[in-house]
């Protein structure tokens, strides 16, 4: 019989140690990615990934199975990222100093792999830069909705569940994202 993890102040019911270990293994890549896309900070994403699983374990008795474990974990991660951004005093400087490098790396990455010929590489880089500019112009909520829908490929319902908002609001965020993309595309 497997030993059940015990954390002070938490009932011993729920996942066993081995089960929780499997959950971590299955979902940590996605959780890290969600956090990294939200924060663009390697260390913070790593720390919050650990916090996310710890929080999930502590709150496991609250998990009713109404949504998937994945969506539930994404929800915890999104909330952690939001709290972190709210509390981060030095975020302005970090973003200012780090964002250009990241974007340059991203642009090069895509140009190298998805467009082998020089002219296609140029086009791909330009397209990516426009998309990044458009995403940057969105509010944090709109960015999260955009990332969860198009990067993590969650359904509209899952995005709504993960963000704790209504389906109509998610659709509105995505429409706003499309509008920003169109505006960027039409810029001279």
């Amino acid at each position: 019989m497997e030993e059940t993890l015990t954390v002070p102040g938490i009932s011993a019911s729920g996942w066993t140690a081995a089960e929780f270990d499997d959950i971590v293994r299955q979902h940590q890549a996605r959780i890290y990615r969600v956090l990294w896309c939200e924060l663009r900070d390697d260390e913070a994403a790593a720390t919050l990934t650990q916090d996310c699983f710890l929080k999930a374990y502590r709150a496991r008795s609250e998990f009713r199975g109404e949504s998937s474990v994945s969506t539930w974990l994404v929800r915890i991660a999104v909330n952690l990222a939001r709290d972190y951004q709210r509390n981060r005093r030095q975020g302005f400087w970090r973003r200012l100093l780090g964002s250009n490098t990241r974007e340059a790396e991203l642009a090069t990455d895509v140009a190298e792999d998805t467009a082998p010929r020089a002219d296609r590489a140029l086009l791909a880089r330009e397209q990516l830069q426009r998309t990044m500019e458009a995403v940057k112009s969105l509010s944090p909520q709109q960015q999260t909705a955009f990332h969860l829908r198009f990067l993590e490929e969650l359904s509209i319902e899952e995005v709504a569940d993960a963000m704790g908002i209504g389906i109509g609001t998610v659709k509105s965020h995505l429409s706003r994202a499309v509008n920003a993309l169109r505006q960027q595309r039409n810029k001279p």
Partner: protein, 169 residues
Amino acid sequence: MNHLTDEQLAQWLEGGGNPQTQSHLAGCAQCRSEAEELRDGISRYAIAMRRQADRAQSLSLGGYFAPQKAWARHRLRWAAATALALLLAAPTLWMMNKPHPQGPLVVSAPVPAQPAAALSDDELLEAVNNDLSREVPQALAPVSAITTGRNRIAAASTVAAIPSNLSAR
């Protein structure tokens, strides 16, 4: 002709859209081009972000949830910072504790080299003269010195007795 709205394009990007949107795209080259371009841009963005995140994750987590690794990295950083601080402080400490062969360093006005050399030459010359003029054995030197001293005093008193106008001649 009304082109597709943001909502319709968003729906199409989410996975097809309704038949009305589909038929519009089939007949409108402008909307089709725009929709395809947006889709490609989003797709490239998603690929690039996923790749960057995976790369960052492999560096940050080392593949698995590992608080020990994070702590080890933290300690390594502190060790490197300490080593760097010591390295930077070492020349200053060495300068402060450097042994001075001629005693502690005293800052003073520079002494002209020439008079010191002249004094030394005079001393040397005097010593040579003394050696050459020595007429008594070494053992009797103290007695000789007393005698010489008496003679000098006597000579000095004689000179003092001579009027200054005569001694100047």
